[in-house]
């Protein structure tokens, strides 16, 4: 058996040293006129969404079920898109070639949300770890390694995200912070090279909570 891979702490440390800096094998290529968007339910109720560019989507309230897959939208330049739910409707514009996350913050007739342009990095040799502060009441969030307390992400404002690439690891545990409050640790498990992993901070039942999800794209439909 070959030696196990480094823990996340070592991976993070290595990521900052020139000796292990790795050349990205490819640059992100922007699909002409295409954009990607996903929906995230930050509210307390499950939502049936009716986007005007793809089939209906349901986003729940239980951990990763809050997150939809990315959906590919064609010819987005200059186009206003909308999503309807619970008698309300929200509109937004996507940037060609970019990945977007639409955080739904208000359900019902006054449906409202925040559109984020995601920071993307693609590398065959590294894992991508992102952290989204999808709460409206946690002004400054952070993510730290467990149990060392080494910072992975810090000062992540409400309704914003940060991302970084790290060396693959076999196992990792992290905990989030919301201001001075330390949240329960979560197990990230194995992070593979090329994998796209996101830790989400949401408000669930009046309390901030975290969970892990992998980014993915909805299958192509003719």
């Amino acid at each position: 058996m070959i030696a196990r891979r480094t823990l996340l702490a070592a991976a993070l440390a290595a990521a900052s040293t020139p000796a292990l800096a790795q050349i990205a094998l490819y640059e992100g290529r922007l699909p002409d006129g295409f954009a990607y968007v996903r929906f995230v339910n930050t509210t307390a109720t499950a939502l049936d969404l009716a986007p005007d560019f793809t089939d209906p989507i349901t986003v729940g309230t239980d951990g990763p079920k809050r997150i939809s897959q990315y959906h590919v939208v064609e010819a987005v330049a200059g186009k206003t898109l909308s999503v309807a739910s619970g008698g309300g409707k929200a509109s937004f514009k996507l940037q060609p070639g970019k990945f977007h996350t639409f955080l739904i913050t208000q359900p019902g007739p006054l449906l409202a949300g925040t559109l984020m342009v995601d920071v993307t990095q693609y590398n065959q040799l590294r894992s991508k770890l992102s952290f989204y502060n999808a709460t409206t009441d946690c002004a400054q969030a952070g993510l730290l390694l467990e149990p060392s307390g080494q910072s992975v992400f810090k000062s992540v404002a409400s309704l914003s995200m940060q991302t970084r690439s790290i060396n693959p690891v076999d196992e990792a545990k992290v905990h989030a912070t919301c201001g001075p409050t330390k949240l329960a640790a979560i197990d990230l498990g194995e992070l593979n090279a090329g994998g796209l992993y996101t830790v989400w901070l949401v408000n669930e039942g009046g309390k901030p909570t975290t969970f892990l999800a992998q980014d993915s794209i909805a299958p192509y439909q003719k």
Binding site: R5, P31, L125, A193, G194, G195, L196, Y220
Partner: protein, 246 residues
């Protein structure tokens, strides 16, 4: 008439079978082997440098991790990064595609690869359309693909293989080279072997109902656009999930 050539051919045939690795028995080695089925560097500009660069990339891949190895030509080398990582990121994909490559060059690359540096759980093989461009006979290209399967079975016996049919090329079904690719696919489909090699012809899923290859899918009617990769990834994902065991 001299008996020497006959004896030489017989010896070669025996040797070929004696050394034949398992895999693709429907397309056995033959004597003489066509160039498409014999590994060798390709006489293309910068080919050696590109191979070296690819080897260096492989050497930097995490040796303790299982990988999804994608083997092929420029179609493999040019996978759209977001699509590749979004669909297959959790399987640690490694692109082992080389622009302009044929079965001959791919065989050579696999035969000279430092296999201990890689532990592919699954290898996706998509190679041969450049053989078609070069005028190779479908049977020769197919034999080259079979030799690639045998090489994989020999060097990485635990690796499961997803063998993809050559993708459709040309604007429509009347394209002469597309017809050649279709003939190759008919032959290599016989390489499927339960538990070892899965064959899939994803090509028809890239085509319109009239058999046309839209430029939104393939900008030059040979290579794929991001939309083409999106459609291909959607088509093969269930098979990869199955081969990876979830």
């Amino acid at each position: 008439m001299s008996i020497r050539p006959i004896l030489a051919a017989a010896c070669s045939l025996i040797a070929a079978h004696a050394w034949a690795a398992p895999g693709c028995p429907a397309l056995p080695p033959r004597v003489p082997m066509p160039p498409d089925a014999v590994g060798a560097p390709l006489p293309l500009p910068n080919w050696d440098a590109a191979v070296t660069q690819l080897r260096q990339k492989i050497a930097t891949a995490d040796p303790t991790s299982k990988h999804l190895l994608l083997i092929g030509d420029s179609i493999t080398a040019s996978w759209d990064p977001p699509i590749l990582n979004m669909f297959f990121g959790r399987y640690a994909p490694v692109l082992f595609g080389l622009s302009g490559d044929t079965t001959r060059g791919t065989l050579w690359r696999l035969q000279t690869l430092d296999w201990p540096a890689l532990h592919p759980s699954v290898a996706i093989v998509l190679i041969g359309t450049n053989n078609t461009s070069a005028g190779s006979a479908p049977a020769d290209t197919a034999l080259g693909v079979a030799e690639i399967i045998r090489t994989l079975r020999q060097r990485a016996p635990e690796t499961k293989v997803l063998l993809l049919g050559l993708l459709p090329r040309g604007p429509d079904a009347a394209d002469r080279l597309r017809a050649v690719n279709t003939q190759v696919n008919t032959l290599i489909a016989a390489c499927a072997a339960p538990g070892e090699v899965v064959y899939d012809d994803a090509g028809p899923k890239l085509l319109g109902p009239d058999g046309r290859l839209d430029e939104k899918v393939s900008f030059d009617r040979l290579h794929l656009t991001p939309m083409g990769y999106y459609m291909l990834a959607t088509a093969i994902t269930p098979l990869i999930v199955q081969l990876e065991g979830g």
